[in-house]
Amino acid sequence: MSDILKPETPEQVLEAVKWAASEQTPLELRGAGSKAGLGRPMGDLPCLDLSGLTGINYYEPAELVMSAAAATPMADIERALAEKNQQLAFEPPDLGRLLGGTPGLATLGGTVACNLAGPRRIKAGAARDHFLGFQAVSGRGEEFKSGSRVVKNVTGFDLSKLIAGSHGTLAVITEATVKVVPSPEKVRTVLIRWAQDGIYDHGGVKAMNDAMATPHEVSGAAHLPAALAKLSAVDFVAETGRAITALRVEGPGPSVEHRCRELRQLLGKYGATEELHSANSKVLWKEIRDVSYFTHEHDRVIWRLSVPPAEGSRVALKILEGNPGEALYDWAGGLIWLALRPRDDALAEVVRRHVDAAGGHATLFRAPAEVRQEVSVFHPLDTAVQAITKRIKEGFDPNGILNPGRMYEGM
């Protein structure tokens, strides 16, 4: 077991990183460790354990903004927001179990650093769209901040975007400020139940994009092939034994009722439609958000593909041709979670060839460390973008001490 440094204040984080920079000692950044299996393996490095940095520092419901220390558990944040009838619009997923660990541990800093977002991404944006500002210590051992506590701000480069999704390779976030929104009064889900047998991936993606092209502000659009639907805890979804397409509608009561009616009318041509009310809707969308259908067989490799939504089923089915596996479609087909049989190469060449043809990105989300060592976890970059990426890394972390190699080999 390597050393663990456990700072409890932003000042101690600064000291620790300064020390690591001066000693050129690489550090593995860790909040609660719920996403430790995400990214390239970094070997056994000293750990900068940030779990002592917790607490909501600022929450003004009327300003729609919250600031919290980096390792504040999402559970705490969601509880505080729920008390004021608010939420994070980007619907942060809890992927602890998918990554082979314990659910319920995710922290704000980790969520932002991985730029994770749930089904509402298609309507409300990702973590990066709600990450208004931060305090951080870069790999240079220098404190810096960016952004603010107001939503509308174009003062200087938007470093919040850079830090979101940088997987702890540029800076240690000590405090994050996020935009919050009122929770919807009502949630309902329109379901299409497809006919008994057959593959309905294309139909599901078509139906989702039909729904997205309406003014009904669909806030979740997912397709579950029959094999996944039967794993749902929502009886209504599981018992049909059929593929299910789900469309979520949120808002004030009268509006939700009207929009559900309209959607059912529009989508009736695809199959029988049904409606889930609030409680069942919440269960179903949490399952989709957390990709819980793929948490059972731990040896399968999991890919996360981001593609143009209308291309979703074509990309997935081409990859699955002759390669047994399952696809869960979220974001109206734009996000595909793919579970494949274990393979040393994770089928990377095939996956990326089809994703590239459609225009998109593929992340090897879950695989044994040896596989993630050999296969690029993150989508390979073209030469010029890779050079910029490298220069950014060198600018913020010249000694390469923050999560070295986590995203790209040698970087």
């Binding site: 003004e60 730029n115 939503v151 174009v154 938007d158």
Partner: protein
Amino acid sequence: MKMPKPDEAVIARRAEIIAAMRAIVPDESVIADEDELKAFECDGLMAYRQLPMIVVLPETTEQVSRVLAYCHENGVKIVPRGAGTGLSGGALPLADAITLGLSKFNRILDIDFENRCVVTQPGVTNLAITQAVEHEGFYYAPDPSSQIACSIGGNIAENSGGVHCLKYGLTTNNVMGVEMVLMDGQVIRVGGKHLDSDAYDLLGVITGSEGLLGVITEVTVRILRSPETAKAVLLGFPSNEAAGDCVAAIIGDGIIPGGMEMMDTFAIQAAEEFVHAGYPLDVAAILIVELDGPEAEVEYLIGRVEALAKGEGATYLKISESDEERIRFWSGRKAAFPAVGRLSPDYLCMDGTIPRGQLAYVLKRMAALSEKYGLRVANVFHAGDGNLHPLILFDSNVDGETEQAEAFGADILKLCVEVGGVLTGEHGVGIEKRDLMGEMFTEDDMKHQQRLKCAFDPGHLLNPGKVYPTLHRCAELGKMHVHKGQLPFPDIPRF
């Protein structure tokens, strides 16, 4: 406003540079004649003017790439320019730089209703995107007031907002991809028709980078279905405080309107005289609250807004009964800048953002500053997101009044920062707010921002003199000053 000292050696080579440009683009696309250069001497911030060394108007990505590669090799600076409507001087020319105009990139390339996005060249106007898709019931959401004229490329450079960004986001939340030419001529593509790529979010930092990182040659934006209906409520209040409280009450009630705008007495009067929007004249402030969505939702929310407004002491309340009336409510707000401009030979438009709860306090302090400087100020305000637009009236023909107005403006922006806000909400830093950056950022904050710049343009050839008061040399920024072993860290728990 001090701009970087022009490089005389580059200016001395002007003829040679013109010849090199004419080898890349057609002769008429290189503007070198002084009379013609005049048209480019400023952007929407007209107080600052400078003739460009030359203007080049390329029309293909390849031409842009060759122009930049030449400039990179020859140490020639570039000032990118879209439609020239920017309000912070981001496209202000430099005496030793090529102004690179993107106006010939004026074609929409691909309208993809299936994936709900539009791929366009950057010189296309914001409004033209909506016009190209509205026959299918779609629109492009960000709507800066200048949307008839401003280009989508410029919107990305500035991360433009608009009245609808409260509900639908800023440019950064609506752009999906760009093609961009780097200063050395390399062409990169970032994003596309898919959402988030797992990589450093270059798209996110390019948006709002004010022309300092590259030249955008293609843009992909998302389009949305237009709401089924929209209605506006026009509210009058006896005090700024009451209007501010009403904004808080609406948001506190869980309602995010499509737009929520506030105007003070002076702005109301000016707008009313100019466009006769039907605003009440016996109130201290008005709010325009627009609700959009299905009719059932709009009716329901209007009812709630009405009740909330009455509870906060609204003395005037009118709900739009037709789309014409709704548009008329907006007409006064949209014409507020020229309306105020009519009352004065010159005006300065500020753009700070504050936490909404500080509104009444900030307006009170602003009134005191107005008295101190002896200059009038009118206020229009994106109330929903805290973005203020104080308009300071002055006469540049009166000795010293320009300086007074600028000092007044700087005090307002410092006040915004003091109450927890920012220098600019949507107009950009440009040259206008450049020297105030230190009010908001420490040296280390700005150095980290500039390290991003160094990753894209290490020679500082793209739009120098904008955004940052001091440009540090990239070699200097790269150095690390560490003293080995100096830190024992007694305080950090170790295991």
